[in-house]
């Protein structure tokens, strides 16, 4: 792949890669670093990129692997500081937040990792089931099952949240 094709095909994926990295690493700076690091690796392997069928799915898979490696390194180094000082609010802040959007973001964040990943890849980034299977290493069926579970869990939590609101209004 020459420089022009690389610029036209790979560089525009930066936004999507950054969002994905951010959702896994839970840190803006580290997510930006991950994008730069992946860019470097992809550039070094640019000749191989011509043989890839689906560049978007391939780059997202590469980003996922890179981020998971980073998390493993963090755990090995007992990097508690990074875990405690995550920039993205965790579920414990849900009590303080009344805004429904924030509540829903926290609901999504608190899903099991695989369900959250599958939901983000489908509902935010718009990938097909087959592409999500490539990115995550799951079968198509497993992707569908995880996606269904994630959505149903969110629906249940939204319904519970609305029941709480109605109860408060009724009691008030």
């Amino acid at each position: 792949m020459d420089a022009l094709n690389y610029k036209q095909l790979i560089l525009p994926l930066a936004d999507m890669l950054y969002r994905f990295a951010r959702s896994i690493l839970k840190n803006d700076d580290q997510a930006k670093d991950a994008v730069q690091e992946l860019n470097l690796k992809l550039w070094e392997k640019r000749n191989y990129l011509d043989t890839v069928d689906n560049l978007q799915a391939f780059t997202m898979k590469s980003m996922r692997n890179l981020c998971l490696d980073e998390i493993r390194k963090r755990k090995n180094n007992n990097d508690l500081y990074e875990d405690l000082h995550s920039e993205i609010p965790g579920p414990h802040q849900q009590v303080e937040e009344n805004d429904m959007s924030k509540i829903i973001k926290n609901m999504i964040e608190s899903l099991p990792e695989l369900q959250k990943t599958v939901m983000r890849l489908r509902d935010i980034e718009g990938f097909e089931i087959e592409e999500i299977a490539t990115i995550t290493g799951l079968t198509n069926n497993a992707v569908t099952v995880n996606l269904s579970r994630a959505r149903q869990k969110i629906r249940e939590r939204i319904n519970n949240e609305y029941l709480k609101v109605e109860k408060n209004v009724w009691i008030g």
Partner: protein
């Protein structure tokens, strides 16, 4: 059953196509959401707002052989900021002080900018002469001290002879 209700059921069972999900998205992001569907509006708004998050660097560094190590991204950021601040300070000093950049010699005397070389030389000469005068007067006691020291020498010699 309403078309949206049908799509919502399929959606939560993960059976919708991307086109059908687009229909749901357009509906929930519109201003004509029915009351019974309002509780899901925020969900689709969150997805839409997440999609707006951008990689904020003006342009991703195009990779060359000289690419910087991404691990030093934050350190590089601080160094760049420091250099920028230093550059701004230097430029500010140059702008505030109009003498910077001038190729002429000058002196600052009592807060005044003097570039008349002859005047400055004469002034410097008179000041140096004054200093010489002061030094001469100041050195007199020291010269007297050495006279005293010389006069005390015979007494020292006699003292040593007596000890022997």
């Amino acid at each position: 059953m309403d078309r949206i209700d049908e799509l919502l059921k399929k959606y939560f069972d993960a059976e919708t196509s991307l086109d059908e999900e687009k229909t749901l998205r357009n509906y929930f992001l519109s201003s004509s959401v029915k009351p019974e569907h309002l509780k899901y509006k925020s969900l689709f708004e969150v997805f839409a707002s997440e999609k707006m998050i951008k990689y904020t660097e003006s342009e991703i560094d195009f990779v060359t052989e000289k690419s910087k190590s991404p691990k030093n991204h934050r350190i590089t950021k601080w160094i760049s900021a420091g250099i920028s601040i230093a550059a701004v300070l230097i430029i500010a000093i140059m702008l505030i002080n109009p003498q910077y950049g001038s190729s002429k010699d000058y002196a600052m005397i009592n807060g005044k900018y003097i570039d008349n070389e002859e005047y400055v030389m004469q002034l410097a000469k008179s000041k140096i002469e004054n200093v010489n005068g002061v030094l001469s007067r100041s050195m007199k006691p020291i010269k007297n001290l050495s006279k005293v020291k010389n006069s005390l020498e015979p007494i020292r010699v006699i003292s040593e002879i007596s000890k022997k």
